[in-house]
Symmetry: C2
Subunit: 388 residues, 2 copies
């Protein structure tokens, strides 16, 4: 099996892109990544996307985006795993290169969510849950996460305000990222007063619906010129799944998919949680931040709620998270999110992040993309080639 | 790179399955394949599907089907490439096993199309075309194929009735396949009188909308017990793409994606068209049968129209096609079709087809799954281990 590296990254800012179509967003990110990698040919294209069929009347994104980016003829395919579609596509790209079947693969995550009313989009997003037994009885994605958060607060006797420091941190970091959707910090007072969406989840617990596209170029590590210190090695990229419906899980508060995926990733990379320099986690809702820190093996969720108050997860803290804003601050264009996480991790490893949110000398980056309420999870560990 | 083999196949009959949900169809095919392979564990699941989000309100099929089949935890993902989704998923499974990243992978193609009115389904299927420049102006899939067929008849001075022998052959073969949707032969007179859908395409030129699921189990060839003569080796599985919109193609009648994919497959397998024992082609419309025979390198499309009259493509002919009914006779549950083709090819190679449609001593089987009007094409060549 070959070692694999990311040699190019590209993105469009996360926004409400009413003036750009799905294919334009995707091609822009893809061409940026190719330029960054200084390549003009690829032999495979993996597109991560969840809702183009439902929201844009367009399936068949592999061929479409290859075509629009001037790469028609190349092998191209769409990969879908709900909100984890981006990282799932990345995983397929890694498999193809690691296995020696491809020499240079592009992975594009793209999603366009803002062309419809929120209600229609919420119902489209609920297709990530169990449609027959969850969505059909009216459970939206916020609703499902609210059930989990409610239970967590009850079992651990914590109050809602304890969660507020996670979105505060995400917005503070995101305010320095020009590609983030939200560029202003928020206060605990704003969090306290934020409109409740599905009790106990409020507006500031929830990552925003957005449009966006991000892309990376993957090659075998052995093909990199020695001088290319901007590349990042993919030490591990591993997937776990869990029961799709919340009611089927033996333990509601345990993210089994995260556990499987993170354990596999640490084993593959031969690392432990303490080795990770920073962690781009899937903070779609504040409760997910706490639970995924626990299931990934970093600390218990209640400990995470305490440590976030002490600066543990800040840029200069022990384990920086959501360094470019996370899903909460950067925005969550679902099928693109997993690729944005990789792009941001590589940006940090290259020391090319804006000064105020640049992690100091990061060696190992971890990203984690979660689909549904944890039914598909992809965890990736990247290594800084420059420093090693 | 490892050699790869299909060791298990499973399917549900192609029907209007109003009594079974998407997950039930998929799990039934998957469990059949596992039983056939005599395995109960896999380390990867690839689901080929196009329209579950639009038509069943259900995305995230990887985790859903793994869960429902009792395999929760396993890596699972959905792959989409319009009507080529099934073979595209198979291709990803082959990549994972060939590259040494997986030891035993299941590929399930599943589609449920008949729960809606034909008009709604036709509009969902049009998402395989260019939504901004084809579907948005009212072009359906039949419409697009009608444009191609019209042009072909004009340029080659052939009449519509010349195409009729293809669906006749498909129905004749399908009538012996218990899993086929249509079990009765049709006559040229019926073809002549069939209702026109989009001139010149009539009802009997068009493969039917259907529900279905098919599955295969893939392992490294080296892991097969010597005694397992029911396995088939995957000599090649290769993908090509083309411009998605018809109007962007330099030559309307040339299936460039087919050409790329077939040429790559022959090169990888180190074979030529004359070596192929039978060909499960993508006869979604009669015109596609003729054009894909040409672009795959077998003969010109006009020659194909002549030879079909002489029995060239019959079970006992030189190059049997659509041996189990093809898309026309077996039915075309879009995202499942590519996997049905593999299942049928393996059935033939094992000499397990119903007697009247069993190809005699087949050594090399070729299957070809086409997405859109040729924008994604996956060609697979399988080898009979029993005879070699």
């Amino acid at each position: 099996m070959k070692k694999v590296a990311v040699i190019g990254i590209g993105q469009v800012p996360v926004r409400e892109h009413w003036d750009k179509s799905l294919r334009e967003l995707a091609a822009e990110a893809l061409l940026n990544a190719l330029q960054d990698a200084n390549r003009d040919e690829i032999d495979g294209l993996y597109v991560g996307n969840m809702l183009s069929g439902t929201l844009s009347g367009q399936e068949h994104l592999g061929a479409l985006i290859a075509d629009y980016a001037g790469l028609s003829g190349v092998e191209a395919v769409k990969v879908e795993a709900a909100c984890a579609s981006g990282a799932a596509a990345f995983r397929q790209g890694v498999i193809a290169v690691a296995g020696g079947l491809k020499k240079c693969v592009a992975v594009v995550g793209v999603e366009k969510l803002t062309e419809f009313s929120g209600r229609y989009t919420a119902s489209a997003l609920a297709t990530a849950a169990d449609s027959d037994f969850e969505a059909s009885v009216g459970l939206t994605f916020v609703g499902l996460n609210a059930l989990v958060m409610q239970r967590f607060m009850f079992e651990n006797n914590v109050s809602k305000i304890d969660f507020g420091n996670f979105p505060l941190l995400a917005h503070r970091n995101g305010s320095h990222n020009p590609n983030a959707m939200f560029r202003r910090p928020i206060t605990l007072e704003q969090y306290r007063k934020a409109k409740v969406i599905a009790d106990p989840i409020n507006l500031l617990d929830s990552s925003p619906i957005a449009d966006g596209a991000a892309a990376v170029i993957i090659v075998p590590l052995e093909d990199i010129e020695n001088s290319d210190k901007r590349a990042a090695e993919v030490l591990a990229c591993e997937t776990g799944t869990d029961y799709i419906a919340l009611h089927d899980r033996p333990e509601l508060l345990k993210l089994k998919g995260v556990e499987i995926s993170a354990k596999k990733a640490f084993r593959t990379a031969n690392l432990q949680p303490k080795d990770i320099s920073f962690f781009e986690l899937h903070d779609a809702f504040s409760i997910m931040t706490a639970l995924s820190l626990e299931a990934s093996g970093f600390m218990s969720a209640t400990e995470a709620l305490n440590r976030v108050k002490d600066g543990y997860f800040e840029i200069r803290g022990k384990l920086p998270i959501s360094t470019m804003g996370g899903l909460k601050g950067r925005g969550h264009p679902v099928g693109a999110t997993g690729v944005y996480q990789i792009v941001e991790a590589v940006t940090q490893l290259r020391a090319e992040a804006p000064e105020k949110i640049q992690v100091k000398n990061p060696l190992y980056a971890m990203t984690q993309n979660i689909g549904g309420t944890g039914a598909t999870v992809v965890t990736t560990i990247l290594k800084n080639i420059r420093l090693s």
